[in-house]
């Protein structure tokens, strides 16, 4: 399998630019997630890589071969790029086995090896025994798994997944996601997953690329993107964020909630600090800062508490706190902030 390089890809529909110079690199055998709000151009990027759309500029290099570039446009069927569209898009007139075998090159002799390959792939996605079903007889999750098997069958260089889990129930989504990820890893496939779901991107991918207004704003491991976002918008997009006014002096962030260590070195100045709700800890009343409980959200595996913190100088600051599930009994609590925070210069 192979390396995917996207360099400076631009694309406009009419006079409306959709991609404004996208750069992205996916190492061989890795799963990259392109994360962005709807309308940011991520689906268009996928379609350019697949060859369904012609890029206006920039290049796409796949396994060392330029498939899109100035004067180059390799036809989709010659790219060795497989796609898994939203909702699977299985061929409704073919059985599961025929769907999976669709992209297998077939002479007469290839039929037997083909059948073995189909079985192997269905095994991989956990659907052995479903060979003769029609797509209409499958559940949404099963259809999605068949679509992944179909994409993997011709051993493509890259698999592109376009929001493949968004049509599934929340309960099912986590399972199918894990299965698909396992299947992709088992096949050693290089894959690009497009999604607007930050949890999905962070939990599934090896590389997360955050896209906004037609460019990749930040790409890195899930941890990097979450812990060290490039700007406030990225921070807000990859997770819940508490944004507070803050000033940096001598490598320390001064905020209404007290002074905190910097996550990334920064020059002195005025700006905003971003902390994650899990950095906000509840302490018994009387310790730390005093806060009023505004709202409580119980999720089962954890819980959030919306607070209004009374800072020195009688400033009231809304802060979200994540707990392990316990929630304050009374209406007032104490609050303590822990750990380094990210700080970005600019007006509050």
């Amino acid at each position: 399998m192979s390396h995917l390089q996207i360099r400076g890809v631009t694309k406009a529909f009419g006079d409306q630019p959709v991609l404004r110079g996208v750069d992205l690199e996916v190492p061989s055998g890795r799963l990259a997630a392109v994360l962005g709000p709807s309308g940011c151009g991520k689906t268009t990027l996928l379609r350019v890589v697949a060859g369904f759309e012609r890029a206006d500029g920039g290049s796409v290099v796949l396994a060392g071969r330029e498939v899109t570039g100035p004067g180059t446009h390799v036809a989709p069927e010659k790219r060795r790029v497989a796609v898994v569209p939203q909702e699977g898009a299985l061929f409704p007139h073919l059985t599961v086995a025929e769907n999976v075998a669709f992209g297998l090159r077939g002479g007469r002799g290839a039929r037997r090896t083909g059948r073995a390959r189909v079985g192997e792939l269905l095994e991989l996605v956990g659907l052995r025994g479903y060979e003769d079903r029609m797509p209409a007889q499958l559940s949404g999750g099963q259809q999605q798994r068949v679509a992944v098997a179909r994409a993997l069958a011709p051993q493509p260089d890259v698999v592109l997944l376009d929001e493949p889990f968004s049509a599934l129930d929340a309960a099912l989504r986590a399972n199918v996601r894990a299965d698909v990820r396992a299947a992709l890893h088992a096949a050693g496939a290089t894959a690009v997953l497009v999604t607007h779901d930050q949890e999905e991107a962070l939990s599934t991918a090896d590389v997360v690329a955050v896209m906004r207004d037609g460019v990749v704003v930040q790409a890195g491991t899930p941890k990097e993107v979450y812990r060290f976002p490039r700007d406030v918008e990225v921070a807000r997009f990859v997770g819940e964020a508490v944004v507070i006014p803050a000033t940096v002096r001598d490598g320390v962030v001064w905020t209404p909630l007290g002074h905190l260590p910097l996550a990334q070195a920064a020059a002195d100045g005025v700006g905003r600090a971003v902390l994650r709700p899990e950095q906000v800890h509840l302490v018994p009343e009387g310790e730390g800062l005093m806060a009023r409980v505004v709202d409580r959200y119980f999720y089962g595996h954890d819980a959030s508490v919306a607070l209004e913190v009374r800072c020195p100088g009688d400033v009231l600051l809304p802060v979200l706190c994540r707990t392990q599930g316990e929630m304050p009994e009374g209406d007032t609590v104490g609050v303590r902030i822990a750990g380094p925070v990210n700080w970005f210069p600019g007006a509050a």
């Binding site: 060859g51 069927e77 010659k78 669709f102 992209g103 179909r150 011709p154």
Partner: protein, 519 residues
């Protein structure tokens, strides 16, 4: 057009402004309006009764109600006039045309009602609206595109029908055109009147297209719509059942009964079995030839029209509308003219007749193919390309198989209409060749009702085959597409087949980059 222009525009204009012509226009339009209105009421009423209520034996009835499609209007006309000679004129023509054409409204509305999301009606009821208000404000808007398209078909049919008005001696355009073509050497009036008729039909078509509602249906989520719980008719049940029986009685049972009667009487009038078989064979041969040629032409054109959005595709779509608006009499006349002038070798030969069928019915077949191609998501073709199949292989293995039902619909529709087509066959058939339709025409023309009966019966029996096929495709399409992610068609196949699909709102194309996400 050329024919009309040749004799000088002055003469042509004179014919147009004649008082007789004006009366002809009014009479034709009046009949068309009356037929359309009656068909809308009956078609929508029957469709609602058979899909949404607890009408007794509604499933069987649902199929039977579509069968008048197989009864050519002139056969029905023959059945009525041979029993009630006084029926000639406006009311008889109205009755016969309504009885024969209401399925054009009924079928698409049934499909639309099946597809309409019943939860919308439930919401309306839960918000305190009565069932009548709900029907008017929620249900009717949902079936409006289907009903309007069906109504257009009926209007075009009524305007262009030749057999029924002729047999019932009601002077409308088609009849006058045919008579003036047959009876005089000067064919200018026929040509001028044809042009006028074409202008009228195009005006109606364009008017309908303009007035068509733009509201698309929005549905959040991809859940499958449930079937609606039937409405209890209560004490209205007997009345509703009676009304249904009445419609079917008038449109099916009566013609069938009359045919049987004349058949039994006719046995004394010496049935020429050889002639009947010849005519039946000729009917099947030319109709099948027409269907094969037309469908073969329609497949590439339909795919092109559905998959390429450019100027040429739009022109093609417009041509589809215009093509359907051409009455058979007019197309036949044009081909006669063409045949005499330029195609002498095939004039009055089978190829010219088949060409006539192709010109007349190609739009219908193209529409059917186009609609089913447009319904299958473009994504499937993209997936196929990305799996390493070239564009031809993709066409062969994905596009055409998925268009299968559409192609079948188109072929059945052409077969059915070609069997029933009277004026084109009459004018273009080879000398000495008779189809069931033309034999029937000749016999009834001379008042030999008993002699006509076997031909009429044979024609109806033959036409029932494609009619049933159409009905089944029509009703099955709905259940087959629900599981696939194909967006539900906006209009039922039969209407689409003839009118071309109403463009789905928010179709995914190159102009909506993230469009897929919103679907």
């Amino acid at each position: 057009m050329v024919r009309a222009g040749e004799s000088g525009w002055a003469t042509a204009w004179e014919i147009v402004v004649r008082e007789r012509t004006l009366r002809l226009v009014l009479r034709s339009l009046g009949l068309t309006a009356a037929v359309t209105a009656a068909c809308l009421v009956i078609g929508i009423g029957l469709a609602w009764l058979t899909t949404r209520t607890d009408l007794p034996v509604r499933r069987t009835f649902g199929v039977v109600a579509a069968l008048p499609l197989a009864v050519p209007s002139y056969v029905a006309a023959y059945a009525w006039i041979s029993t009630f000679p006084n029926l000639a004129g406006f009311w008889g023509t109205l009755l016969v045309l309504v009885a024969c054409t209401y399925p054009y409204v009924y079928l698409p509305v049934v499909a639309a009602l099946r597809r309409a999301d019943p939860s919308l009606e439930e919401v309306s009821r839960s918000l305190g609206r009565s069932s009548l208000t709900t029907f008017l404000r929620v249900t009717i808007p949902q079936i409006r595109p289907a009903a309007a398209a069906g109504g257009l078909l009926v209007a075009l049919y009524a305007l262009s029908d030749f057999g029924a008005p002729s047999l019932l001696r009601y002077d409308v355009f088609t009849r006058v055109i045919h008579d003036s073509y047959r009876s005089s050497f000067d064919r200018t009036p026929a040509a001028v009147l044809s042009l006028l008729l074409v202008v009228l039909t195009i005006a109606i078509t364009v008017g309908e297209a303009r007035s068509r509602g733009r509201a698309g249906q929005a549905r959040v989520g991809s859940g499958v719509a449930r079937t609606a719980a039937p409405v209890g008719l209560g004490r209205w049940k007997p009345a509703a059942a009676l009304a249904c029986v009445g419609v079917v009685g008038v449109s099916l049972a009566f013609p069938a009964g009359t045919l049987l009667y004349w058949l039994s009487v006719g046995s004394s009038a010496r049935l020429d079995l050889g002639r009947l078989t010849d005519a039946a064979t000729a009917t099947v041969v030319v109709a099948v030839l027409g269907a094969v040629v037309t469908t073969a032409l329609a497949i590439p054109v339909g795919i092109l029209a559905a998959r390429h959005s450019g100027r040429s595709a739009r022109v093609l779509e417009q041509a589809t509308y215009a093509g359907h608006a051409l009455p058979g009499v007019v197309v036949a006349l044009a081909l006669v003219f063409l045949g005499v002038r330029y195609l002498q070798p095939i004039y009055q030969e089978v190829p010219l007749l088949v060409l006539g069928y192709a010109v007349l019915f190609l739009p219908a077949a193209v529409g059917a193919v186009r609609a089913s191609v447009a319904q299958s998501p473009r994504r499937l073709e993209e997936v196929s390309r990305s799996l390493g199949l070239g564009s031809w292989a993709t066409l062969r293995r994905v596009t055409v198989p998925l268009a299968g039902p559409g192609i079948a619909t188109g072929a059945a529709l052409v077969l059915l209409t070609a069997m029933k087509e009277l004026p084109a066959t009459l004018l273009l058939r080879p000398t000495g060749m008779d189809t069931l339709a033309t034999r029937l025409w000749t016999e009834t023309g001379s008042g030999a009702y008993a002699a006509a009966a076997p031909y009429a019966a044979a024609l109806v029996l033959l036409a029932i085959v494609p009619a049933i096929l159409l009905t089944r495709v029509q009703t099955r399409v709905v259940s087959r597409t629900t599981a696939a992610e194909a967006p539900a068609p906006a209009v039922a196949p039969i209407t689409v087949a003839v009118l071309g699909p109403t463009r789905p709102t928010g179709s995914t194309g190159p102009d909506s980059p993230e469009g897929g996400a919103q679907r």
